[in-house]
């Protein structure tokens, strides 16, 4: 019962806060009323087309790279668990794995895969 009352108070306070903020917003800055006030400013002319456009997501190469190394970190958790037991063998094996990945990055870099524009 007590919890329900608390929840109800929070609900009412939330509604009141929402109304108050809406009112303050309306008083402070009325919504732009004309078309000219709504368009983005580019220096004195109106845009010819809408700015919704499909563009090349150029960071996709970086995103894929992040995923690859993210997964590599996942492999490192079990490795870290057995690292003390296995010793130098584990270290060398992991180094080989990372070196292969790094070589891949260097190759992609040289081929211009990370070129932005």
């Amino acid at each position: 019962m007590f919890a329900l009352g608390g929840a109800f108070t929070v609900f009412v306070a939330g509604i009141l806060a929402w109304l108050a903020m809406r009112w303050v917003g309306d008083v402070l800055s009325p919504v732009a009323s004309t078309d000219a006030e709504r368009v983005p400013f580019t220096g004195g002319y109106e845009p010819a087309v809408h700015a919704w456009s499909r563009y090349h997501v150029r960071y996709y190469a970086m995103a894929l790279l992040f995923l690859a190394f993210d997964m590599e970190m996942v492999f490192m958790y079990p490795w870290a668990m057995v690292f003390m037991r296995e010793g130098v063998t584990a270290l060398v094996e992991m180094l080989m794995f990372i070196v292969i990945l790094v070589l891949g990055i260097l190759y992609a870099w040289r081929e211009g895969a990370f070129r932005w524009a």
Binding site: A36, E37, V39, G44, Y45, P47, A48, A117
Partner: protein, 513 residues
């Protein structure tokens, strides 16, 4: 005894309760508004300044004053300050800028001659002071009048024109005839074109200018953007920047080298101050602008200016972000700049091109032009990567030349030079008929194509194009015309298919409104 209805009699009825709430709300809102009004009267004046032809004083100097904020966009400005007379070709654009300001708004015309023809019918404030203090007082008075309601906000300059409504169909104006290739918010979407990976992606046509804060007033660029990559550029309006009076005089009559070199240092510093502001280093830009003003004023000693210039050079050199954004951007090759009289822009690309070399007065002072040595060396070793000057080279050269000019001015001792039809002005070699900027405008499309938009702005700012202001003609915007035609065609097709009863669920009834 109380009846059931007596419980409500406190408020009369349910509708009475609603009206009481509305009254309380109104009273609160009134108090709130008057409190805000008192605050607004003390606030700095928010101004969007438009530079026209022959302003009474430089509107850029408002950046150095308290009590006034010069904005980059008219959106949050209260006052549109029109400094100088607006050329015929740009009047329509000024009206658009005016209409894009939010209410309450007012226009103040600041002209040398108040009698000349006005741009619009509404600007009631015409002032012609050449001192900024009186101007700022007027601006403050106008803003206070707007805030207190003594003066009503100005109406649109272009009401009822056939502009595309920034509103689609549906209760919130968010809908339109489809999202892919349709007209969201009543505006058609961009056409597709192949990008560098041979994908078909939208190419956004944009017309930047004539009053984009980073560019000289009047420069209009029609660009095609894919993402933030500039695919195509056309210069649709080339502003003419006025030559400083002292340089204009030097074309026909000998003038004092000291005065001329002070003016050159001032021009270089103003240019750098603008660049710093565009790059977000407003405080450093204001310091540079203050120094430019000090250099121009005759009564101050040159020694203090030299010391301040050294300090600014040091601080600008330490700004990692600035150099990072300028390095390798906007490379102008040595060959392209050779022999064209493009002044500091050419010298930054390693060209030893300066009309001062041949002047006896400068020879007597032991003048040797500063040339970007790295570019010269690179040209000799035919290393194509650095064969020329980038934006960072241009700014380095600018600072070095400002110091050199101050040094020449200090040693000139009343020497006089020029007066034979040509002068090395801050932007390059000028005669009575020719100025260096048109050559730079011609280079812009090839230079900017393929750049990211941010780099393109950096590059345009780094070329010395002057303040602008005067424009003879603005070319029509081809992309907008094409969009308009295809939208009309689409509308026609839709109407035709409607009539044949093929498409029952279109929104033609909304578009007909």
């Amino acid at each position: 005894m109380k009846g059931p209805s007596d419980g409500l009699s406190v408020f009369g009825s349910a509708s009475g309760f609603v009206s009481l709430v509305a009254q309380t709300r109104g009273a609160f809102s009134g108090t709130f508004r008057s409190a805000l009004r008192r605050l607004a009267i003390g606030a700095p004046v928010r101004v969007f300044a438009i530079r026209g032809v022959d302003p009474p004083a430089d509107p850029a100097l408002l950046h150095l004053r308290d009590g006034v904020i010069v904005l980059d966009s008219p959106r949050s400005a209260t006052i549109l300050l029109i400094a100088g007379s607006v050329p015929e070709a740009l009047r329509e654009a000024v009206k658009h800028v005016h209409d894009e300001m939010a209410h309450p708004r007012a226009t103040v015309r600041w002209v040398s001659d108040p009698a000349e023809e006005r741009v619009d019918h509404q600007a009631q404030y015409n002032v012609s002071f050449s001192d900024l203090t009186s101007l700022i007082e007027t601006l403050r008075r106008v803003q206070n009048d707007l805030v207190t309601g003594a003066r009503s906000s100005e109406d649109d300059e272009l009401p009822g024109t056939t502009r595309t409504a920034w509103r689609g169909v549906g209760p919130y104006g968010h809908g339109g005839a489809g999202m892919t290739g349709g007209t969201p918010y009543g505006r058609p979407m961009a056409e597709r074109a192949p990008d560098r990976d041979a994908l078909q992606l939208d190419q956004l046509p944009l017309r930047i200018g004539p009053y984009f804060m980073a560019f000289p007033a009047g420069l209009v660029l029609d660009i095609e953007l894919q993402g933030d990559v500039v695919q195509d550029v056309a210069v649709s309006a080339e502003p003419v920047s006025p030559l400083r009076p002292v340089f204009a005089a030097a074309i026909n009559d000998p003038v004092s080298v000291a005065v001329l070199e002070r003016a050159r240092a001032e021009d270089h510093l103003r240019w750098l101050a603008h660049a710093l502001r565009v790059h977000g280093l407003a405080a450093l830009g204001n310091r540079t602008l203050k120094l430019a003003v000090q250099v121009d004023a005759d009564e101050t000693g040159i020694e203090s200016s030299v010391a301040e210039l050294k300090a600014i050079t040091h601080d600008v050199g330490r700004s990692g972000a600035l150099w990072w954004s300028a390095r390798g951007v906007g490379l102008l090759s040595r060959d392209a700049m050779a022999g064209r009289g493009l002044g500091p822009t050419a010298r930054a690309s390693g060209v030893r091109d300066d009309a001062r070399i041949d002047e006896p007065a400068y020879q007597a002072l032991g003048f040797e032009p500063i040339v970007n040595a790295a570019a010269e060396v690179a040209a000799k070793t035919a290393s194509s990567d650095t064969n020329g000057g980038d934006t960072s080279a241009r700014w380095r050269l600018l600072l070095a030349e400002a110091a050199q000019s101050l040094d020449l001015a200090a040693r000139a001792n009343g020497a006089r030079a020029w007066g034979h039809g040509v002068v090395e002005c801050p932007r390059g070699r000028a005669t009575a008929r020719e100025a260096p900027e048109p050559q730079l405008y011609a280079m812009l499309p090839d230079l900017l194509r393929g750049m990211e938009w941010g780099d393109a702005v950096t590059t345009v700012v780094s070329l010395n194009l002057g303040e602008g202001g005067d424009v003879r003609a603005v070319q029509p915007w081809a992309a907008a015309e094409k969009v308009r035609q295809s939208a009309e065609q689409a509308m026609k097709n839709e109407n035709a298919s409607d009539m044949s009863g093929m498409a029952g669920m279109t929104h033609t009834q909304h578009q007909a409104e």
